[in-house]
């Protein structure tokens, strides 16, 4: 089997409940290598939970997650090993507040990949340079703007050279004027061919960047397709209703 045929990510019948509430009601989703898939839907539709299930930060109740042909949900699989290939960026950045920017980025390469200090710092600095953050290397996260923190979080994930990036509403906690700098970084990653699964409320961004858009409601993927079709002529009436509310709110 060659790489083009093996999906970067395949979810089969993924279910997840929190107590009585079933948040994911059987999700099937495949992401091809170099594909950018955007998950849209109202808050509470299960987008974030879905992303957290992909790298087993939330354990599944049922279903399978297959990363590059390897089932991460199988018994006895070392989840730490598979997580290295998956980068995840959270809405709230989740940088380590007691470490400098540079240490935030080099921690996992050094402790998980066993890189030496010089090599890990070199890798971190070249990434920081690329995203215009090299003068921030010695700062603590609290001293950075939200946009800078989020870019550092992206760099931290990239330092592990992931094959797949999961982005969980990465601009939702940012002031409006800081959103663009983060979206530009993601756009750059997409142009380079990074495989990404993105939960977002930024519909304009999703339309620009996505190869495919999935509309989630109440824990199910109700509709999926290329952005041109989803955003202009959605078939499912619920997708239409969701998008019309978004348009009414002036967000598309």
């Amino acid at each position: 089997m060659n790489a083009a045929e093996t999906p970067a990510l395949a979810l089969e019948g993924v279910r997840k409940s929190f107590g009585e509430t079933e948040v994911l009601k059987g999700i099937d989703l495949t992401v091809a290598p170099h594909e950018v898939v955007c998950l849209i839907g109202a808050s509470g539709s299960g987008k974030s939970t879905l992303l957290r299930c992909v790298n087993l930060i939330e354990p599944l109740d049922a279903g399978r997650v297959v990363v590059e042909g390897e089932e991460i949900t199988a018994q006895g699989v070392d989840e730490n090993r598979i997580r290295r290939r998956i980068g995840i960026v959270y809405q709230a950045f989740n940088l380590f507040p007691h470490m400098t920017v540079l240490r935030n980025i080099t921690l996992a390469p050094r402790e998980v990949l066993g890189m030496d200090r010089a090599e890990s710092e070199e890798r971190a600095l070249s990434l920081l340079e690329r995203f215009g953050l090299s003068d921030r290397r010695g700062e603590y996260p609290d001293r950075l703007s939200g946009g800078q923190q989020q870019r550092v979080a992206i760099v931290r994930a990239l330092a592990m050279r992931p094959h797949l990036m999961l982005l969980d509403e990465v601009t939702s906690a940012l002031d409006p004027e800081l959103v663009a700098e983060v979206l530009n970084v993601i756009r750059e990653l997409a142009d380079e061919g990074m495989t990404m699964l993105i939960a977002t409320h930024e519909m304009g961004f999703a339309r620009d960047i996505a190869d495919r858009v999935c509309f989630l409601e109440e824990g199910r993927i109700l509709e999926e397709g290329p952005p041109e079709r989803i955003f202009t002529s959605p078939e499912n009436p619920r997708t239409r209703r969701f998008l019309s509310r978004i348009i009414a709110a002036g967000r598309l």
Partner: protein, 272 residues
């Protein structure tokens, strides 16, 4: 902000308060006796430095400092182990968690002085090789470590639980193992947050070193008692008290400073 009137009122109130106390003490029928029995300069000095017949309170106090220093290091380590064991998830570790919980329940629940008696008189009675032939001071240190570790483990646990779960999620997402996440991400933040309550417990520990005397060691409180019994003068107690205060006050002020610094830092963080 303190205005002119507020300064005036607070000064007047302070002066009045201390005047009343001084007057009450001076008018008390036994005030002359108190001055002689507790504050006689001769006895203050003699009990501090010691004599042929009585031990020096100052040199006895060095034993308190010694016990404190050794116990503190051991407590910091043992308590951390207990706190970490207590939060390891998974059914396999259930017995370990149970032991950690039982440990804290037991040693927080029993008065220190009883633990001192049980260890200090019980263990030698068992006739074990090595363990039954340690010095009184060593048994005292063991008892202090056992009891204080239970308290300090709870302080650590509060710190660990105060670190938001998203920090662990971020670390695990990067491929760090549970242990690596704990070591590099959770514990450094947790320990930083609990430094003020930790120091608070150590002030308590510093004072409780005096209880080791029940096993026979002559530390400051015991030396003061010996002096008082032989000279019928209690200046030695005042001296011992002053020595304890000399150590605990700097610790207390240091704790205050750390709390203030932590507050400033959090407020700066909230602004960003």
């Amino acid at each position: 902000m303190l205005g002119g009137r507020a300064v005036l009122v607070s000064s007047a109130s302070t002066v009045l308060f201390f005047t009343v106390i001084v007057v009450i003490v001076a008018l008390a029928p036994g005030s002359g006796l108190v001055a002689e029995r507790f504050f006689s300069p001769f006895h203050l000095w003699r009990s501090l430095v010691g004599s042929e017949s009585e031990p020096s309170v100052l040199s006895a106090f060095l034993l308190n400092v010694y016990i404190f220093a050794i116990s503190e290091v051991l407590i910091l380590i043992l308590a951390l182990v207990i706190a970490v064991v207590r939060q390891i998830p998974g059914p396999v570790f259930f017995p370990f968690r149970m032991v950690a919980v039982a440990y804290t329940d037991l040693f927080r629940g029993v008065p220190l002085i009883l633990i001192l008696y049980i260890i200090g008189f019980g263990v030698p009675g068992l006739g074990l090789a090595f363990f039954s032939y340690l010095s009184d001071i060593t048994y005292g240190i063991i008892a202090l470590v056992l009891v204080y570790s239970a308290y300090v483990a709870e302080v650590y646990r509060a710190g660990i639980e105060s670190v938001h779960e998203s920090q662990n999620a971020a670390a695990r997402s990067l491929g760090l193992s549970r242990w690596q996440s704990l070591r590099f991400v959770i514990l450094p933040q947790a320990v930083r947050r609990v430094i003020p309550p930790l120091l608070n417990d150590f002030i308590g520990l510093q004072k409780d070193t005096a209880l080791v005397s029940v096993l026979g060691s002559i530390e400051a409180a015991r030396a003061a008692q010996i002096y008082g019994a032989s000279q019928f003068n209690y200046a030695s107690y005042v001296v011992a008290a002053a020595l304890f205060i000399l150590i605990t006050i700097p610790l207390a002020r240091f704790t205050d400073r750390l709390i203030a610094r932590d507050k400033r830092r959090r407020e700066a963080g909230a602004l960003a």
